[in-house]
C-alpha cells in the first residue's frame, strides 16, 4: 500500500438542485405532459425538492442520510442513481450506483429462486457463478420455506429481504439502501448491517437512508442531515444525530 494520501473520491455531488413541476391536480407533471401538441393548459407549481446540496463521498465511507419525511432524502438518492434528473448542478460517480428500495419485487410472477438467478445475471454474474451462490443468498434472506413461491405472494418484509440479499451478493462499489432494513426483523437487521460493513471494508461506499438512528449508529461512519432540501449538517454520526434530535424535540 502507498503512503496514506488523500482518500479516493467515489461520488461528488456538486451543487445539486432538483425541481418537480406538479400539476394543479397534484399529479406530477411528466415529460410527455409538457410537450407540443398534447400540452395541457393546467396550472403547474414548482416544488424545489433539493436546493443546492454538495458533498463528496469517499471509498470506505458508509454514510447515513437522515431527515424528516419529505425532506428530500429519497430524491437525493434517486438523483445519485440517475433516476431523477437534476435541474441544476451535477453528480459524478466512479461507477454506476445501485439502489435498493422497499419498492415492488423484481419480477412478481416468478419464484424467489428464479428472481435470485435473474437478479444475479442482471448484475453481471455468469449463470455458473450465480448458481453457486443461490444457496447463500437464500440462507441470507432467511426465506427458504417460501423460495419456490412466486414473489407476488411475499410480504413486503420478505420482498425487501430477498432484494437486499440479491443486490448485495455482488460487491458494489456504490450501494444505496433506502429504508430497506426497517422492514426486517432484529435478526435480519443485524445480518444486513454486518453485510453493509463488509461491503464498506471491500472499498465500497454505502448510503443508508433510515429513520432508525440505531441502525445508522451501528453501521455508518458519517451522517448527512437533510432538511427541506438543504444540507444541514455533515459529519460524525453522534454529533449530527444529537443535533438532529435536538431540533425535533
Amino acid at each position: 500500500m502507498a503512503a496514506p494520501t488523500e482518500r479516493k473520491a467515489v461520488i461528488v455531488v456538486d451543487d445539486v438542485h432538483v425541481e418537480y413541476k406538479v400539476l394543479a391536480t397534484g399529479k406530477r407533471a411528466s415529460a410527455a405532459d409538457g410537450s407540443g401538441l398534447l400540452q395541457r393548459s393546467r396550472r403547474t407549481r414548482t416544488v424545489h425538492a433539493l436546493k443546492g446540496v454538495s458533498f463528496t463521498a469517499y471509498e470506505n465511507d458508509s454514510i447515513g442520510i437522515i431527515g424528516s419525511n419529505g425532506s428530500g432524502k429519497s430524491t437525493l438518492m434517486r438523483a445519485i442513481v440517475g433516476l431523477t434528473p437534476t435541474s441544476q448542478g451535477a453528480i459524478y460517480a466512479a461507477s454506476r450506483p445501485a439502489m435498493l428500495g422497499v419498492g415492488a419485487a423484481l419480477i412478481t410472477d416468478l419464484s424467489g429462486e428464479r428472481n435470485i438467478i435473474l437478479g444475479g445475471l442482471a448484475l453481471g454474474f455468469t449463470l455458473e457463478e450465480i448458481e453457486g451462490r443461490v444457496d447463500d443468498i437464500i440462507e441470507f434472506s432467511g426465506i427458504r420455506d417460501f423460495i419456490e413461491l412466486p414473489m407476488r405472494t411475499y410480504s413486503s418484509g420478505m420482498t425487501a429481504r430477498l432484494k437486499f440479499a440479491i443486490a448485495t451478493a455482488k460487491d458494489h462499489e456504490i450501494l444505496i439502501v433506502d429504508e430497506a432494513l426497517a422492514v426486517g426483523d432484529r435478526n435480519f437487521r443485524n445480518r444486513s448491517e454486518a453485510r453493509i460493513r463488509e461491503i464498506r471494508d471491500n472499498a465500497g461506499t454505502v448510503f443508508l437512508v433510515s429513520h432508525s438512528m440505531q441502525s445508522i449508529r451501528d453501521s455508518c461512519n458519517r451522517v448527512i442531515w437533510i432538511n427541506k432540501g438543504e444540507l444541514m449538517m455533515d459529519g460524525d454520526p453522534e454529533e449530527v444525530i444529537t443535533a438532529y434530535d435536538e431540533t425535533n424535540q
Binding site: A32, Y92, A122
Partner: protein, 285 residues
C-alpha cells in the same frame, strides 16, 4: 469542500450520462445469459397460470387461423385465394404472430419492468432483446406444428425446409430492432401502448395473410412493386416459398436480399435509437 474539478482528474463520470456505444454493447453481450434466462422464466411463469399451459402457445394462433380461414376462406371466398389456401393461411398467421407479439411485447419491455430497472443497474437493452427472445422460443414449437399441418395436407418435407432456419434468424434480428425502437417510444409516450393493437391490425390486413397480393393485384404493378419492399410481406412470402410448392410460391431471390437488408438496417437503427436514451429508462418523470 467545494471542488474545482468535480470529475477528480477524470476518474469520475457524470451520473445520468450514457456509456459510449462500444462498451455499452459489450456490456449487453456479457448479459446474454440474463437475456435468455429472463425469456425462459417468463414463459414458465406465464403458462403456470393456465390449465393448458404450453398448449396455448400453439392453440392461440391455431384458433386465429381457424377463424380467418372460416371468414376469408369460406364466407368471403374470392379469386385472390392461392392454391394450398389452408397452408398458406397457417404459415401467414403463425409467422405474423411471431412478428406482432415481438412488436407488442417489445414495446412494453421497459415500461413493464420498472421495478427491475429501478433496483438493479444493467444495460436496459437486455429487456427488449429478452422480450423478442421469449417470442422466438415460443415460435419454435409453432414451427413444428406448422410443419406437421403442411405434411398432413400432402406436402412432403423437402431439404429446402432447412431455409426456415436462416429465415427465422433474419426475422429475429428484424424483430429485435423493431422492439428496441418501440420499447423506447413507449417510455416517452405511454399512449402508444393503446395504439399498438390498431397498428398491428393495420399491418395484419395489409400484409397478405389471407389473400395473395400477386392474385388480387395482378394488374396493378405499382401495388406489387410497393409490397415487394414491405418487410413483413417479404418474410411471409419467403416462408411460404420455402415450405410450399406451386406456381403461387415462386419467389424472386431478391426477397432474401431485401429482407436481410431490412433486418440489418432495423437492428442498427434500433440499437442506436435505444442506446441514446439509456439514462432515461427508469425515471418516473
Amino acid at each position: 469542500m467545494t471542488t474545482t474539478d468535480p470529475t477528480r482528474g477524470g476518474t469520475l463520470t457524470k451520473v445520468g450520462g450514457r456509456p459510449p456505444l462500444r462498451p455499452y454493447l459489450q456490456d449487453v453481450w456479457s448479459r446474454r445469459e440474463f437475456v435468455y434466462s429472463l425469456a425462459r422464466f417468463r414463459i414458465e411463469a406465464e403458462n403456470q397460470r393456465n390449465r393448458l399451459g404450453m398448449a396455448w402457445v400453439v392453440l392461440r394462433p391455431l384458433l386465429n387461423a381457424a377463424i380467418y380461414g372460416l371468414i376469408f376462406g369460406i364466407l368471403l371466398g374470392s379469386n385472390s385465394r392461392p392454391d394450398h389456401f389452408l397452408e398458406f393461411l397457417i404459415i401467414g398467421v403463425f409467422v405474423f404472430e411471431f412478428f406482432s407479439s415481438s412488436f407488442t411485447q417489445g414495446a412494453k419491455a421497459v415500461t413493464s419492468n420498472q421495478a427491475l430497472v429501478q433496483s438493479l443497474s444493467f444495460p436496459r437493452m437486455s429487456l427488449p432483446l429478452s422480450a423478442v427472445t421469449q417470442r422466438l422460443l415460443l415460435f419454435v414449437p409453432m414451427i413444428a406444428v406448422m410443419l406437421v399441418i403442411i405434411v398432413a395436407f400432402g406436402t412432403w418435407p423437402q431439404p429446402e425446409w432447412l431455409l426456415l432456419i436462416p429465415l427465422t434468424a433474419i426475422l429475429f434480428v428484424f424483430n429485435c430492432g423493431l422492439a428496441m425502437i418501440t420499447a423506447r417510444l413507449t417510455v416517452h409516450f405511454r399512449d402508444l401502448t393503446q395504439l399498438l393493437p390498431f397498428i398491428t391490425r393495420l399491418i395484419f390486413y395489409t400484409t397478405g395473410i389471407f389473400f395473395s397480393f400477386d392474385r388480387r393485384f395482378s394488374t396493378h404493378h405499382t401495388v406489387l412493386r410497393i409490397v415487394d419492399f414491405q418487410p413483413v410481406h417479404e418474410f411471409l412470402t419467403l416462408a411460404r416459398a420455402v415450405l410450399l410448392k406451386g406456381p403461387d410460391y415462386n419467389v424472386p431471390m431478391s426477397y432474401w436480399l431485401y429482407s436481410s437488408l431490412w433486418a440489418i438496417a432495423m437492428f442498427a437503427l434500433g440499437v442506436v435509437f435505444f442506446w441514446r436514451a439509456e439514462e432515461r429508462y427508469g425515471r418516473t418523470h
